[in-house]
Assembly symmetry: C2
């Protein structure tokens, strides 16, 4: 990192933070942010509030200039008209970076735009780089910094998130965490008056804690730079992005939200494809794709093996696969022979492989069939819709305690073996829960998480993920060939 | 009910049931079904097993003919080749109706087809109507009958389900129950050698316990009869159906699953539209639509008001609304005035209504805004994406215990008021959770359920539901006009 880039250290791992607008009013922004700042003992926190002697038990200062120590980062949460003056005081104090949470700038119209220009001028002249204004804050799980007001604890992990909407960011964080995704860094970009989404992208591309970059995008201020950065990044680190504002009224809403232009949807679509950016429709899709990228290999091509516990599941899965433009794989005769050897004669004798009503005592056959499919040279990826990894709740009543222990022991070693074979063959295996009760059992879902097996709610969602993975693999292959 | 229809009583509310193929082998079909049959004390249960003296502690009989009492319903779970002989014994015994769980009939090819014809001949001559073969069973929550092997307890409620796949049926049951949907009756139709999906539909159309009929369909044996019945039914009771097998490989899979023809997807699409059947893509969609049908009015037309806690949510919601072919409503000047009076000046001044970063203390403004929108004559339905109904988990840390009690009390009465206004104005209000954590809190979700407010995971899913509701309303209006 060059001296020029020092602001990143001050933004994401400051030694001291001042919160200007810290408040004792429960439920207010200044209270929520203060609580999150105090959650880590890693740094000094200085509340600034001209009318309170202390905030949450910490002595408060009338102004940032009165703070006796150095201040690396200022978080500003006062009403918009006061922000330029506060930024001036930050300059005077020698503050190194800032987060301007306050809204009421360019997003509100001409008057707010003028206020924003004034703010930028002061910060630029004073050498302060800043996030916002109109941001919901940011977070770094490794340095344990959180300037957000309303979020719970963020699970650490390898996924970074840049969002041009604080609320969409919160949705993605919560949705991701509920699926076991952990995050390295989160930035709610706000109006991007100073630091742009492109700056965050450049930083995260280099960030060792980040393996996958995700983004919610309404409009890019530096389209060319974004594409250049994305092209360089996606050969090593996937970028998964939502681009919204593609319809008339939503584009209008973008203008009054972050004061950007949504731009032509088709242009974005083409540009993302050229730069290897995986474009998804919403936060459900985003989290679905990210779980697969974290734990599964990319499929060579798009020939899908389907293994199900029942015919209807196979029908629906085959339809989902075809509607997503993937191929229902043609199994080799060798695979058919192997399946004949392990399944009851009424099995479907083709792909989708319908195991045709196995009883619970026959469930080990699911894994024998899975090994046959994963070894098939005509199969690039597998959709598995069968009750593997059953929990105590599903087994009790049906078996006694000893039988359950034996059953689960066998399942566990089979799931580990599956993990191993996925790596060995380089073929993704995506699990679709055959019935919701299986995967909603915490015992089952934690088992799947330990084994790095993402679970999807429907074949349609799993097929969409496979389509994204297959596309990304084709992109990478083509790019590497051209190098 | 005429004498001819008496088999319905024997199928769904029998006084005595024989399970032929009852078993003490844990994890087997005959064990699972026996357990479910015994769960209710409402009727006599007779296990039949030639090699066991008792099953699950109940004296077993060598054959159904040896049972000393009358047998209303026989559940047959023996291997396929033995089924005709067992059916013959049922005829001899005077059994009134049957469920043939065994697979290995027409779905496996020519040989199985012959066996199935033989079975039908015996049952017809003996006057026994039956479900199956190759069915996973059926259930009636009101008579507390369950012939399924693998399901947990089914929550009673007003939704009936006919499924041409046992496993898809189980998915829908579990998915529905996890969203608070209760079921009246469930039939896994199997191969429909005797009773057809059309028979179940005719029965459920008359069933007083059923307010909404749902179906998973691969192919119809009596297309014309289905459409006639559907047309008569949908004017009073909505029918929500998945029709699968619309692609090449999935159609092929249909043939080897339930031995039916999937037929042309376009023909089904057109026929369903003419008969008022709401066609959905998968079980996620099905459950989404059903929750709305149970608790919400149908919108007059498709002009959607969008109320969000943040701009990005509004952008994404507007895009979802437009992509689903709905309209982003133009608010009246009166509504704008009302919103100006209750929201901070930085609000979006149009639809989507972005409340622009309210702090938690300002959350009551969400309801004031909602009242303004619901009263707007240009608004037919509302997508609400804001943190209403917050749970203790979200509020604690931010407020003290007393404040939380006051906050939740206010929320609760506002939600009741919302319920009332939805009815009064005849406008559906669909909640989209602003962040996943809100709705995954059991305290919150049970509150929403009590108030009959369905919660959707994304604006896309909620918009899809509104599109279905609006279409159904148009269908009903046109149909009633023609009468």
């Amino acid at each position: 990192m060059t001296a020029r880039d020092n602001h990143w250290k001050h933004l994401f791992a400051p030694d001291s933070v001042a919160l200007i607008g810290a408040s004792n009013t429960r439920g207010s922004w200044g209270y929520g942010i203060m609580r999150h700042l105090l959650a880590s003992a890693k740094r000094k926190i200085y509340p600034v509030n001209p009318t309170a002697s202390e905030v949450l038990g910490i002595p408060a200062y009338e102004s940032v200039v009165n703070i006796p120590d150095e201040v690396d980062l200022a978080v500003i949460a006062v009403s918009a008209p006061k922000v330029p003056q506060v930024m001036q005081q930050c300059v005077q104090k020698g503050v190194k970076a800032a987060v301007v949470v306050s809204g009421g700038f360019a997003e509100t119209g001409e008057q707010g735009g003028k206020l924003e220009s004034e703010l930028v001028k002061i910060a630029r002249e004073g050498g302060i780089r800043f996030i916002g204004p109109n941001t919901m804050g940011h977070a770094d799980t490794s340095s344990q910094l959180c300037t957000l007001a309303w979020v719970g604890e963020i699970t650490p992990g390898p996924v970074a998130l840049i969002s041009q909407s604080g609320n969409m960011g919160h949705r993605i964080l919560h949705n991701g965490m509920s699926l076991g995704i952990g995050f390295s860094k989160f930035v709610s970009a706000g109006n991007e008056a100073d630091l742009h989404l492109e700056d965050y992208l450049e930083y995260l591309a280099q960030d060792e804690k980040t393996r996958v970059i995700t983004a919610y995008i309404e409009g890019l201020r530096e389209g060319r730079r974004f594409l250049q950065l994305a092209r360089e990044t996606t050969v090593n680190k996937p970028i998964v992005a939502i681009k919204s504002g593609g319809t008339k009224e939503s584009a209008r809403a973008v203008r009054s939200h972050t004061a950007t232009l949504a731009g032509s949807d088709a242009v974005y679509e083409a540009a993302f494809r050229q730069a290897g950016v995986i474009r998804v429709d919403d936060d459900d899709d985003l989290c679905d794709v990210v779980t697969a990228l974290l734990y599964q290999p990319l499929p060579r091509t798009s020939r899908i093996g389907i293994l199900t516990i029942g015919g209807g599941l196979g029908v629906v899965a085959a339809e989902a696969v075809e509607r997503e433009g993937l191929e229902v794989a043609h199994l080799t005769p060798a695979t058919i022979e192997k399946l004949d050897a392990c399944l009851p004669p009424r099995w479907s004798h083709g792909n989708p492989v319908d195991m045709a009503g196995l009883s619970m005592v026959e469930y080990p056959k699911i894994f024998s069939s899975l090994w046959a499919l994963i070894e098939d040279e005509n199969v690039d990826a597998i959709l598995l819709q069968a009750p593997v990894g059953l929990g105590t709740r599903q087994l009790s009543g049906m078996f006694n305690r000893e039988e359950i222990r034996a059953f689960q022991g066998r399942e566990k070693s089979n799931l580990s073996l599956l993990r191993q074979r996925i790596r060995e063959f380089g073929k993704p295996v995506l699990l679709v829960k055959p019935a919701v009760e299986f995967a909603s059992d915490p015992e089952v879902s934690s088992l799947f998480r330990r084994e790095g097996l993402p679970v999807y709610s429907t074949p349609r969602r799993a097929s969409r993920v496979l389509n994204h993975l297959a596309w990304y693999r084709r992109y990478l292959d083509a790019t590497r060939k051209n190098c």
